[in-house]
Symmetry: C2
Subunit: 374 residues, 2 copies
């Protein structure tokens, strides 16, 4: 069951119930504008990833700023996007199961829909679903450009699948999915640059091999928040799939930038607002946000604006904060603005975004695709 | 927005859409019965923790088996419990903020409701809320018996708060909250026994100090799935607050038992059912369940019944499975039964439990308090 919103529009920020997932709307808008400008400048299209924000409201803001549509990982996310007004959706992932493929084909009756494949069986099943619904589904071949997750090897294996797609009624060959996931968080700018140079080479080789058999790629897609500078100037990729740039998190902040050891291309705009609920000792305070308000696979959250505080322990509903040496001691009811370790799965824990500006609640948006993992 | 259920009642298990959170109902019922029997045998009451299951349906099953009510961590969970028919609820946590306290007091009009305190301000605020709603709230003093999270020191500090509660109109002194969280996952039986012996001593000291000033403890509560054997035979604790015993997870399975190096007091009854969506190489398969289907703060899930497979990498919507040496190779569409690392926050990702028995779906239960973190 969806939970009640933790705030009402017009409320002062101090009255937001906690834990709450709060967006600094000014920072969000600057992040959206900054990547849109990269897209305009380079001529590489922007197709941001819904797996981060899970909200058609935010998708439409990205599209208003110049994005050409969205990508997402799951059929359930695609359904929420199309229902929310997005008309060009790429499921940047394999879809297995007739029930899911039927849902996707049904969706293609009201939007341009594509998916990814990396095996002949994917193509056969997607073609069957498309023909049954009388629609056309785009199918991109996913190639493994370094992540060793899904995807066939670049080159010949991809060409073979592309030819199968082109020969399958109901499908259109949509191009290549060439996302390098593990490159996104490599520690330094130079490491990321080197990883993407390799990915670009593998992708170019595949694009050329496809051209040699008369197949052209509508989409050559990839790039994330950590590497888009390289794909966007590669001359090979023509779509960027960044997601986290909207919000940032500590996992991205910790990687090196071009000239600094913090990655500061984008601003932190996403916070888990928490309340101090216990101050049992002079060196410890406990807040009301734990594992059910942010995820921990990338470490504990940072306390925004309070370098003198450290989250040292997290349990289901508690965050333990070390206050030794704190400039101002924490007291019951104090608010903490926590920057999550990993924005995507943290957002997936919440039903509502609370958008704030100038100290007031300006927006309360449902996270409509939260939990849409099927 | 809640997601559609991934299964219908009567369906064969093979048709459940994935990822799905699946309960082996036979195993669940055996786990419920086993701890209820401990409670009957020892005469120590059982008040299981809703923060694990988040479902009044399961709470009522525990109560039918002999539990006297529930505890929970959040006001939102208490609301779901009372609406679902539970009439005795302890929020085993501090509650800060007038809005939350008003909700709790309103709830006390239709159920016996208590909360925990560890500061004079908690008592003042809870008393005000109770009087405003014309109800009585139970208030337990939380003591720190070793976890170094919330709670005052055992002994004198607790007595002082108990006396303040007793003198506060609208509140009744409800006893002690003496849960030792960090003891639950200590690696060996003997370490856990030693930790709880210390906790018992600190709790007894406090119970005696309260008795000396004429205050008796209705509830002396604590214990989790990892240590209930010790609290239940302590002669000091009179309520057990176990939660994970319903389901188990790898984090509990990894601790040592009394006579084995696996903790097998209870059975694994909870699984994230996943589908193989890509088999890009001979040594690797990818399933459709990642960080949005289970949490990773306690490590990757185990593949139930397949010791020959290992989950080696997890991203938002992918689980990477090493198939080197697999007895049977994985193919597209194969199902994997994943045992999550940590049951409570994993459950909090899903909207529905799918209960199965003898190969069929027998129950589809909403996880009604999912996301109820306020």
């Amino acid at each position: 069951m969806p939970q009640r919103p933790p705030a009402d529009i017009g409320m002062p920020v101090s009255e937001i119930d906690t834990p709450a997932l709060v967006i600094d709307l000014d920072a969000l808008e600057r992040n959206i504008a900054k990547l849109a400008e990269v897209s305009r400048r380079t001529g590489v299209r922007l197709r941001p990833h819904t797996k981060t924000h899970k909200s058609p409201i935010i998708a439409l803001k990205q599209i208003e700023a110049g994005a050409i549509g969205q990508c997402c990982q799951k059929v359930g996310e695609a359904e929420v996007l199309v229902a929310g007004g997005v008309r060009d959706v790429l499921v940047s992932n394999q879809v297995v199961g007739d029930r899911k493929l039927a849902r996707l084909a049904a969706l293609a009756q009201s939007a341009r829909v594509a998916l990814c494949v990396d095996a002949p069986e994917h193509i056969e099943a997607a073609g069957r679903a498309a023909r049954e619904y009388g629609v056309e589904l785009g199918a991109l071949v996913e190639i493994d450009v370094g992540t060793a997750r899904c995807g066939v090897e670049p080159g010949e294996a991809a060409v073979k699948l592309a030819q199968q797609i082109a020969a399958t009624p109901g499908l259109r060959f949509g191009g290549l999915q060439a996302y390098h996931g593990t490159a996104q968080h490599l520690a330094t700018w130079d490491e990321r640059k080197a990883a993407i140079e390799l990915a670009v080479a593998k992708t170019k080789l595949t694009v050329d091999a496809l051209a040699a058999v008369g197949l052209s790629c509508d989409i050559v897609g990839g790039a994330g928040t950590g590497t888009f500078q390289f794909e966007s100037t590669s001359g090979v990729y023509n779509e960027l799939q960044c997601g986290s740039y909207l919000f940032m998190d500590t996992d991205y902040a910790r990687i090196g930038g071009k000239t600094s050891n913090r990655y500061d291309e984008f601003e932190h705009s996403l916070f888990v607002l928490a309340t101090v609920m216990s101050v049992p000792t002079a060196d410890r305070a406990i807040c009301d946000a734990g594992l059910k308000a942010y995820t921990m696979e990338k470490g504990a959250p940072w306390v925004h604006g309070r370098d003198d505080l450290e989250v040292t322990g997290v349990s289901d509903e508690h965050g333990k904060v070390r206050t030794t040496g704190a400039k101002t001691p924490l007291k019951l009811g104090d608010k903490l603005w926590l920057i999550p370790g990993h924005c995507d799965p943290t957002i997936n824990l919440h039903d509502w975004y609370v958008g704030v500006r100038k100290g007031r609640v300006e927006a309360v948006w449902p996270i409509a695709a939260r939990g849409a993992s099927q």
